[in-house]
Subunit: 397 residues, 2 copies
């Protein structure tokens, strides 16, 4: 026995995203990279906006003494102040810098928030389909996730969430726009969720926290207005990153914002700062903290993703696929025409199309397409999608 | 009950380093920053070497497409290849890129290594005095540390380590040059430690891993040659960062290197990569991975720290302090003239000198001085150190 038994077990259930990625690498070697249509990873093809490149150049040209040193574990005051201003503008709530803790991406931020809140055996309720890493994040702190199915259109099923809430519930985690479905929860459902959590917290005589993973918040289409959970429930923490909106996934920069209305807020902030330290993040990368602060009203060109959604969605519908039209993020989550999503994904692989089976997101019988790739690749995949649709007798509805 | 009970408990035992830092902030407000001699934090005052600034500027001037995107969780191939070459040159062992996993600083790297190796109840043996965060890192994965006192000169006490090793032991962690003592372990003790671990692994029929925290490896004085643990024990992992040698603590960039001689090595590497992913690090910051790769033979001007060590050490001896002469890092760990190190540290505070009590590092009756500050501050503190020495009747030996 050498490595951790627990990790050994987890390793034998390798992530489907990664497994598909690796099989894809083999395909690429065999057929050449340009002949494989890779929709397996959510690795944005867009470069960061020019404002970010300009800020980096300016800092490199005029370095500030001490700009690579330690700072408080929560991050630079200046950065947190600017984020607080942005959050106040967005929500009307009195955010101050102390309500913002800089994080090593949203993955880092979620681990920090879970560590700050969970004890052994505590539960995190997660609507499914979902980003499966959540399971590991909860388990890292002795907690566990409890899945709740969404409706057929992947909207929140409040009745199911209500049923799932119990003595062990400490957190409800929602991710909107959603990975893998691309669906954004509307105002009514966030409002109702807030009411439900208020009622349940009262009934159970404890605070249930609402954590919103909003990594895709600025990537929404059709000019929809996303509701702001901060306005519907006081005990809300937003965890987010600039991986998608500023196309900086490799730089690991994000933040946690705690609602100014959250109870025992100073204790919560201390816990988040402590978790940032002891989990070994120490602080979010210094240079990026400086660069992203003034860019809160910037983002990559969302139109670029919207056009790809339209193109891909229309084609899939035309070929007969059953697919919900996403309002954001850069994923499509169509139904597979057969129950066995893995078999179907392999069928697509035979057309050199790489996707991820739905069971990799807790929902069998579906598959995920990440369309944050070049238009050429999307168009190139259409004949393959069509052939497979024909083989399974799909018909345009 | 709101935040995690465990975290709540830990919070009430706040880090002494942080506590002193906060009391120091109050002093600074009262007396003005320039009138407080702050040796509480190991936050290097040196700027990164010109080679790093040049590399940053060149990348900002000529950005590479995709340079902020996701890469494999283990980091860029190119960076890991260059690190492997450096490690091979240093050890003579056949390091390949697969033996290197990039980490979010050494704190991140240690959390990853512990997660990969430890199960509930497993023990990590740590020579004391020690960097107290290790305790939290082990607890994050259900493990715990077991302290072993060092000799009077803070060298390794092999007999004590031998006594501590048992069924639960999974890791022996050594930090050399050491925080807080500045002591570097010599060749003989690393060689003997390797032999001990070989024997114990055989006797106990299990692999005990040696983890070396080498964040200060390039900060050594008097031209001493540090032994390389890779050459004395096969199941060795080095965890390190560029926080100190390239003065980049805020950027969170480091790596884990696994000895090519380590058993079941592919499984170990998979476990490290998995832990990097699920702990929420995902990958070390992309930009810094690129910048540090070609700078493995660079460092800040070590002479700068050595001069400060000499200056400070001589003065303390002259005033009558009992202090071991450190061979590296930028810490001094003198004996307090009274048993109560906290009372003594407060005595120094009355002279506006900030240090950290030894109990913050597991050793009462001592205190830590971090001298990675301007020479002026060091010299300014001497009258205060002298007055306190006189008060307690210390005599030069």
């Amino acid at each position: 026995m050498t490595i951790s038994r627990k990790v050994k077990e987890d390793l034998s259930n390798a992530s489907w995203v990664r497994r598909m990625f690796e099989e894809g690498e083999e395909l690429k070697e065999r057929y050449g990279e340009e002949n494989v249509f890779d929709f397996s990873l959510g690795n944005p093809d867009l470069e960061p906006p020019p404002s970010l490149k300009k800020a980096l150049k300016s800092l490199a040209d005029h370095p500030i003494t001490g700009m690579h040193r330690y700072m408080p574990n929560s991050g630079y005051s200046e950065t947190r102040k600017m984020l607080a201003e942005y959050l106040t503008e967005e929500s009307g709530l009195p955010f101050e810098q102390k309500h913002v803790v800089m994080a090593v991406g949203a993955a880092g931020g979620l681990n920090v928030a879970f560590k700050a809140i969970l004890d052994e055996g505590d539960e995190v309720i997660v609507p499914s389909p979902y980003f499966v890493e959540y399971k590991f994040y909860a388990e890292n702190c002795g907690g566990q996730i409890r899945l709740v199915e969404t409706n057929d259109d992947f909207s929140l099923n409040l009745a199911e969430i209500e049923k799932a809430i119990g003595e062990k519930t400490k957190i409800v985690l929602v991710n909107s726009p959603n990975n893998p479905t691309g669906v954004a929860y509307d105002k009514k459902s966030i409002e109702d969720l807030g009411e439900l959590l208020k009622r349940k917290s009262r009934d159970l005589k404890k605070t249930i926290y609402l954590i919103t993973d909003e990594a895709y918040r600025r990537i929404v289409y059709d000019q929809i207005q996303l509701p702001n959970a901060f306005n519907y429930y006081p005990h809300t923490l937003r965890v987010t990153s600039h991986s998608k909106d500023l196309s900086l996934p490799g730089e690991r920069i994000g933040y946690i914002a705690v609602s100014p209305l959250c109870e025992e807020i100073d204790e919560m902030i201390s816990a988040l700062v402590f978790a940032t330290r002891v989990l070994g993040f120490v602080n979010a990368p210094a240079l990026m903290q400086r660069l992203i602060a003034p860019l809160q009203r910037n983002s990559v060109n969302i139109k670029h993703y919207e056009e790809k959604r339209d193109l891909f969605y229309r084609a899939l519908k035309e070929f007969g696929y059953d697919v919900v039209k996403p309002q954001g993020a850069f994923y499509l989550f169509p139904k597979a025409p057969i129950e066995d999503d893995v078999a179907f994904v392999r069928e697509l692989q035979s057309k050199r199309i790489l996707t991820v089976p739905g069971r990799g997101f807790g929902r069998k019988g579906y598959f995920r397409i990440a369309y944050c790739v070049e238009r050429k690749m999307i168009e190139g995949s259409f004949p393959g999608f069509k052939e497979v649709a024909e083989k399974y007798g799909m018909v345009r509805k």
